[in-house]
Symmetry: D2
Subunit: 334 residues, 4 copies
């Protein structure tokens, strides 16, 4: 079988295709013929060596989808032929994040998905929602499940409430789609008229161009009749946090995504300005993944894919992703 | 002005129209020209004297809508011309039910809405959602707000989850409509093909005829792939509770509505059969009413009205309501 | 090694001691030298054949404690020498009860603890709180963790609130102790002056003798200044449920424990009388077990043990337990 | 009667005692003979003019206690002779903070407590816990109720969990006391051996001197066996926030108090480092105040008062408070 490895050089050139032995599942494991994998910012940071772990020799990518082709003898949760998605943190089964669950993270601390075959503990997979292609399924483990956290905080998302999303990355688009499923109004920010039109087509009720309106936080307040946004998915780039604080309704839930690099420092007094909760989110549990898949299946929701690359073009996928112009997810077909 | 009073005889004939002085608002009060009132089962029980409080002389009906026509001098929350709805428990402003809030209940312990003019403390009203007629607004204070409790329990209602509603009463239809807004699947029970068609038109995904299928709890399990319903609005008639318990998913939230008369006793062991929470609900706070109105307004939701009677036909409205054949709410135009 | 098995006859005589091979742990398993096991009502029902599963050949008892003596080669969570407790539902790791977790239940659907050696998947054990004897640790998996659910519901237990517990069974005494740790006032019911004194010694603020006061629900209201109990651990015997409903404060959380046999049926209208939540509880997750152990360790809490029997006296332990006169837990030393 | 007013000069000299007419209660109001008032940092900021509102002519201080001496004719919640405390935000009755509740704030936007008599709407008072002096009661409305928010967040405080408090201000000491009532372990930071001893006497399990140990966040981790603190009351001075983030357990709840002046800016990436929730807290509702008073009364908890000044010494009280050397609350007897 074929797979990619990072050579630890910290560049796209270091992503090398190699031939390897097809792995064998242990008693509690399953073998999956991978069919697609998707990219997240963390994958790019890992490729470039901006991640604590040593990456030389690592098979990259955290998110993948495929078909179960072989079962270990003690496996009970899955069957041959099941269409499955990987989980971002395989040790997070349910409930709050276990303290040590981040030690095992495919594509980061253990080998990832950019491989024709991968062995998984049976606990580390979820069944794919019916009706989605493998390419679509591969977009779910990180971006969709992070967006699904809109529903898992202390403050439930009510029909009629306002959700604020930023830009056109994977998490933001899933958050837009999920918020609409749940009956919310969505305010989205973007940088171009073209993307604005696509955000509206996905259901955004109000789109604000942050280039035209750098103090868009205030614009959100105006658009919501002075109330502000009830739930915010804060991507944490540049000065978005300060604008989000301005945009926040009293008692807003501000979901902090990712780990921003190069964002300007913020005055703690600014944080205190909003009577709000800032909630650091980072994917979710397998149980939440299953609940999300049920919603996707019931509603026939289609993940937004910007572009699909062939397996041999994996370096091009990383390069395209690195330019950050995409609208939705970048996927590699395996 | 005109208004109706109960003479305490316990019959529809005891509902008498009388001429009265238009009341004057105190400093913190507003005067409302009532335009519509709607009926609930409790109103019928009160008419028939099946309610603890003494009812001779009482102006009936808990739920009404109208227009603010005069303000007390200290009023700040409302203005002349505001379209408003009454609140079922005016002392329940926010948070959990205050221990003594049920002492003040229009149409039950104090005069109600079946009157051309009513004085309210300004705290006892909410602004109507834009886009609704007064008849529609009058359906909200009890039935809609009770159904809205789907969103206020410990377990939030997630997109993709299954909600079970029973029959065609006001609470059940609002629950169906609200559950659809929030992205749920809805299973509804009914007794006729005609009503089944109307429930489907309102968005019900699955309708079960409980006459054809007396053990419909099991049918709900089958229709949900063995999982059962996640949220149940249990109306508490006849043997519905036992069927609901059978229908309940693990960790289901079973919302208990109303105060059933003549339902068969239930074995506590049956209650324990489901790993579920039984949650007695009874309308909600003014703050929740406002959140509900926001959702109604954002979605342009139309309450289901079975029939509107003129003010002079109020006894006919009670008689029609008492026959229990309605689909949605019975309203009296004032 | 020695162990007990049920012969399926449904009587204490059918509990037979036998010699067996010491089992070997698989790659993800650990071997535990059991040191103590405790009895719960379910064990008695299983012994007497009042449980759905077939019990002939079953090693009884769900709750045990011991020392890890051997590790499978892939084990990471535990080490040789660790003092551990079993878990009642080994597949319930965290979050809400998984739908199928009750299929695997030691002492009920798989072999239990009344054995000198038991092999466990490493996921199925928790470390014992420091400072407890093995006899004490063996009381925790079912009774203590069920009582700990006081802290896991929608309504947190606040200092100054009132908790109502019933009688002197294991769950009730742990609930009393945990409620006191958390700053609650505790009202306990009992049937004798002797037990009343022991309940007071454990921290009960108010003890009501239900023989002297059959309508003790009203007495609870009086003792709480008319407010009622905020949290109730309802054991579900005889007519306790109706008294609990009378005793319940507005917005009370009534935790339903066990599966009562022979309790009188209850009118659904009685259930509706309290504005309360009835929450069926049944042990808890491993994660909750760990949180509970932390509290036990921090506070040096001592489980209440009525009597310890030697391994050879296991039938006497069941017989004594069956007489229901105990105050706290019955334990078998292994 | 006598009262103090600020002259708007922004200095302690501008605090002037004057003679005024005793006010009369309206129909829904009560007249209170004030007996004590306590100081908070906000009062100092208002005195110095560092608060948005215009303060010339304002009667200062938000927190007071006294005795009801006269009732308006429609008053039902209180009686003459009731011992009462003021509420910091009188329009916050229950549930989450209403969006406009901060417009009415005694001692800030309306006249405050430093007066022999004050008229209150009956909704704006709570009954004092039995057993406390007026001086003690006057410490509750802001500092104690803010500390009580430990119990009102999404994550309940469990027995055995660790709470981190900072320094010796009013909120921190109440948080220490409340956390101990609820069975938590408390880690406190301080700057002197003397204060460390007093914190231990109040129940702190671990005290860390932040002068000796500027990176005390790491010390908290060590003292908690690597876990970190589960609940943090972050006062927001200097660089405490960064240390709190280091000290935070996975899934910690970091309660942000006050509005820090002069704290160094923080990198958003630092905020993201902890998988935690940052929750801006600001006093609480009247309903929460009542729940807190119940806990105080049940446990006989004594607020920590540093020093009591006579009414004529009010300027000295402000001066002493401004030096920030106090341990607990500064109170003025009226």
């Amino acid at each position: 079988m074929k797979r990619y490895r990072l050579d630890g050089s910290g560049s796209i050139e270091g992503l090398t295709l190699e031939e390897a032995e097809r792995p064998c599942p242990g008693r509690h494991d399953v073998l999956v013929r991978m069919r697609a994998a998707s990219l997240n910012y963390l994958d790019l940071k890992i490729l470039h060596g901006h991640f604590p772990a040593k990456t030389a020799g690592l098979v990259p990518l955290s998110d993948g989808a495929g078909e179960v082709v072989e079962l270990g003898e003690d496996v009970t949760r899955l069957a041959v032929g099941d269409r499955v998605a990987s989980t971002f943190l395989p040790h997070w089964i349910a409930g709050p994040l276990p303290a040590d669950a981040r030690k095992v993270q495919p594509g980061a601390t253990i080998d990832g998905m950019l491989s024709e075959y991968v062995v998984f503990p049976e606990e580390a997979l979820v069944k794919a929602p019916a009706g989605l292609t493998y390419e679509e399924v591969s977009t779910l483990p990180c971006a969709a499940l992070t967006a699904w956290q809109l529903f898992t905080g202390a403050r439930p998302l009510l029909p009629g409430e306002t959700v604020l999303v930023q830009g056109s990355g994977g998490v933001s688009l899933f958050a837009l789609q999920f918020a609409k499923l749940a009956g919310a109004r969505v305010v989205a920010t973007t940088s171009s008229a073209d993307k604005a039109a696509r955000l509206k087509a996905l259901g955004a009720d109000i789109v604000i161009n942050y280039r035209d309106m750098p103090t868009w936080g205030q614009a959100v307040r105006v658009e919501t009749g002075g109330i502000g946004a009830d739930h915010i998915v804060e991507i944490g780039e540049a000065d978005t946090l300060e604008q989000s604080i301005t945009a926040a309704a009293v008692n807003a839930q501000i979901n902090l995504v990712g780990r921003p690099v190069g964002a300007p420092p913020i005055d703690p007094a600014t944080l205190m300005r909003a009577i709000a909760t800032y909630r650091r989110i980072s994917v979710g549990s397998r149980t939440e993944f299953e609940a999300m898949n049920r919603a996707i299946e019931v509603h026939g929701l289609s993940p937004v894919i910007d572009r699909v690359f062939d397996f041999g073009q994996a370096p091009d996928a990383f390069a395209t992703f690195g330019k950050r112009g995409h609208f939705g997810k970048i996927v590699i077909r395996i």
